[in-house]
């Protein structure tokens, strides 16, 4: 059990910078998810913690001990890989025992640890099989078992579920959550799947181009994205963005785009006033756009024309045209039949409307 600290950590290959200035303190038993698109440096960061990648800048400490120069075997960590990385020429039992035998653990103790791990993961019948004879889900359980038997200070997960099909992925996600409750260990989990990040993480670190974009709890990131990238990355379907021009008076602020003009008062107006005359990016989540919310008060409203609808059974997704841009709305009653080209009234609660800088993408605040 240990705390993991990353201080100004960076990684460059010659002149190419893969990871820049990562600062992160992971508390004991905390589950932190690194998420971002491919090439954002999340895997590299994890591999630096594991010791598989040299650290070219900064310091990494595990359990209060700087590990920069320590080889992976001396860091007391365990790792689950995307493609499971089981030893193909060994049985499941030997796979589980490999790490313990290397550490000269007595055989009796090894048997005890293996029995404990296989019971927890439900893989007792597989012990004498070879990895090739197992399904993807079973292999992933064995890979988890290989970590469990070691009882390490830190678990590292490198996209462990991305090789599984969608159904198995959501099942394993639940099992991971369950496992976490029973074996609380400091964990760093890398994924490109924001759903995994939202459901598993105590805290999420969003990365892009080697830089940390935002660190926070899942709800924090969803409600208060720090920039346009995080806003677009977290949440599904992705947030709608529209370029708008700001016009402000003393009491209210108006944003306008082709086919759209919304007036804000209070806090939002104060935020926008500083950008009067400039173009900013407005963002609204598809879930936060309400269809014909005439009965609710305090909404900002605009008209849009239906372009396509997608039936999902439990809900409909609508693509609507507002001037030159397409806006997506989700959570529509599936029994509602709408003809293409119908003009609809959309509304949103002002608090659910975000504004971002048109250049840097940072969220606008007062």
């Amino acid at each position: 059990m240990a705390e993991v600290i990353l201080k100004n950590v960076g990684k460059s290959y010659g002149t190419v910078v893969a990871v820049r200035d990562v600062n992160l303190t992971i508390a004991d038993e905390e589950f932190v998810v690194l998420v971002g698109p491919s090439g954002c440096g999340k895997s590299t960061t994890l591999r630096m913690v594991a010791g598989l990648e040299e650290i070219t800048a900064g310091v990494i400490a595990i359990g209060g001990k700087v590990v920069n120069e320590l080889p992976p075997k001396d860091r007391d960590i365990a790792m689950v890989f995307q493609n499971y990385a089981l030893y193909q020429h060994m049985t499941v039992r030997d796979n589980l025992a490999f790490g313990l035998r290397n550490r000269k653990v007595p055989e009796a103790e090894i048997d005890k640890q293996i029995a404990y791990a296989v019971k927890m993961l439900g893989i007792e019948p597989l012990l004498e099989r070879r990895p090739r004879q197992l399904s993807g889900g079973q292999q992933q359980r064995v890979a988890l078992g290989r970590c469990l038997v070691r009882n390490p200070k830190v678990f590292l997960f490198d996209e462990p579920l991305s090789n599984l099909d969608a159904q198995l992925r959501s099942q394993m996600r639940l099992e991971l959550k369950e496992l976490r409750k029973r074996v609380p260990t400091t964990s760093i989990y890398v994924t490109h799947d924001q759903v995994e990040a939202m459901t598993l993480g105590d805290r999420i670190v969003v990365m892009k181009d080697g830089l940390v974009q935002q660190v926070g709890s899942p709800l924090d990131l969803y409600r208060r994205p720090a920039n346009r990238f995080v806003a677009g990355f977290i949440g599904s379907p992705a947030m709608n963005f529209i370029d708008v021009k700001v016009d402000a008076t003393d009491t209210q602020a108006t944003v306008a785009a082709d086919g759209l003009s919304l007036s804000f008062t209070g806090q939002k107006a104060a935020t926008l006033r500083a950008h009067a005359g400039k173009t900013v990016v407005m963002g609204v989540r598809p879930q936060h756009l309400l269809l014909d919310g005439a009965d609710a008060s305090g909404l900002v409203r605009f008209a849009a024309r239906l372009s396509t609808s997608e039936q999902l059974g439990d809900q409909q997704l609508l693509d609507l045209r507002v001037g030159g841009t397409v806006v997506r709305v989700s959570g529509i009653d599936p029994s509602l039949t709408l003809a293409e080209g119908t003009e609809l009234k959309l509304g949103a609660v002002p608090d659910n409307v975000h504004f971002f800088d048109a250049e840097g993408g940072q969220v606008l605040t007062t």
Binding site: A50, G51, L52, P71, P72, M79, F81, Y87, H89, R146
Partner: protein, 290 residues
């Protein structure tokens, strides 16, 4: 419009496709032609071997009438086996092939692994060296090697033939070995590093066992190649270290051409190669698919 009953009858007429080797390769009438071509090509390759086999079973007087005569004998085999040079050549060829294979693989497996897994000046330089050496025509190595082995005093010894063979194999097979390791997922080795292995430990205990099919294939190719090799054997050895391929050629001499004895030796030389091929075929195919 097609009416439904017609559609029904056409469904009845549907048959599952015929199965079978040739049917699968060339469906329809083309498969007879295909079978003939396959048989023709197979015959083209098998014919010389069959001819050598026939010649080896004919008495000396019958070698020019192989296609006629009915007289067959095993005397040729007895005669060549009684020749000391043939007997020694068998042992030498076997020893050279085996040791060349062991030595070559020992170097190749580490060299291939380095080329596959490491980046930096050392692998780049090594890569450049074997690339350049590979581009040199094989035959132009022989004369310099002749002088080098003379200088080192290992001409006409095991080492004098072994080392040049190993040098050539390392250049050629490092590439193939690199390919095998490229096909093995490195995360298995990373897992081993985290599980308490050193870099060498991960190589020996995880990467090497995974490369066994490839290694076996390479071992077989290497062994067969050395066993069949003629040019180095001809120029880098003399009377003290007779090599089978050279001894075989020496049945053509100033006093005449002993085709029957040459054929008998060739058939004998074929046996170990055949055994290796038959037992190793599975690995060679699997290895080359990696």
């Amino acid at each position: 419009m097609t009416s439904l009953p017609q559609l029904g009858s056409s469904i009845d007429a549907l048959q599952p496709p015929r199965k079978g080797f040739f049917a699968a390769l060339a469906p329809g009438g083309g498969r007879i032609l295909f079978a003939l071509v396959v048989i023709g090509v197979a015959f083209l390759f098998a014919f010389p071997v069959l001819w050598v086999l026939l010649t080896s079973l004919r008495p000396a007087s019958g070698v020019f009438y192989v296609h006629r005569g009915t007289e067959f004998t095993l005397h040729n085999f007895v005669e060549v086996l009684q020749q000391e040079s043939v007997y020694n050549a068998f042992i030498n060829s076997f020893a050279i092939s085996t040791f060349a294979t062991l030595l070559s693989l020992g170097v190749t497996v580490t060299s291939g692994y380095m080329l596959s897994r490491f980046r930096g000046p050392a692998p780049s330089v090594w890569f450049a060296i074997i690339y350049v050496l590979r581009c040199v025509p094989y035959i132009s190595w022989v004369l310099p090697l002749f002088f080098v082995t003379r200088q080192l005093g290992i001409f006409d010894t095991y080492w004098g033939l072994l080392l040049p063979h190993v040098a050539v194999h390392v250049c050629f097979f490092s590439w193939i070995m690199k390919g095998f390791f490229d096909g093995i997922d490195p995360s298995m080795e990373y897992a081993a590093l985290i599980d308490g292995c050193t870099r060498w430990g991960a190589f020996f205990r995880v990467a090497m066992p995974a490369a066994v099919p490839g290694l076996t294939a390479l071992a077989i190719l290497c062994w067969l190649y050395t066993w069949n090799e003629f040019l180095f054997a001809l120029l880098l050895t003399s009377h003290k270290t007779p090599i089978l391929t050279v001894v075989m050629a020496q049945f053509v001499h100033e006093l005449g051409m002993e085709w029957h004895l040459m054929s008998a030796t060739a058939i004998l030389a074929l046996i170990p190669a055949l055994i290796v091929t038959i037992f190793g075929q599975k690995y060679v195919i699997r290895g080359l698919r990696v």
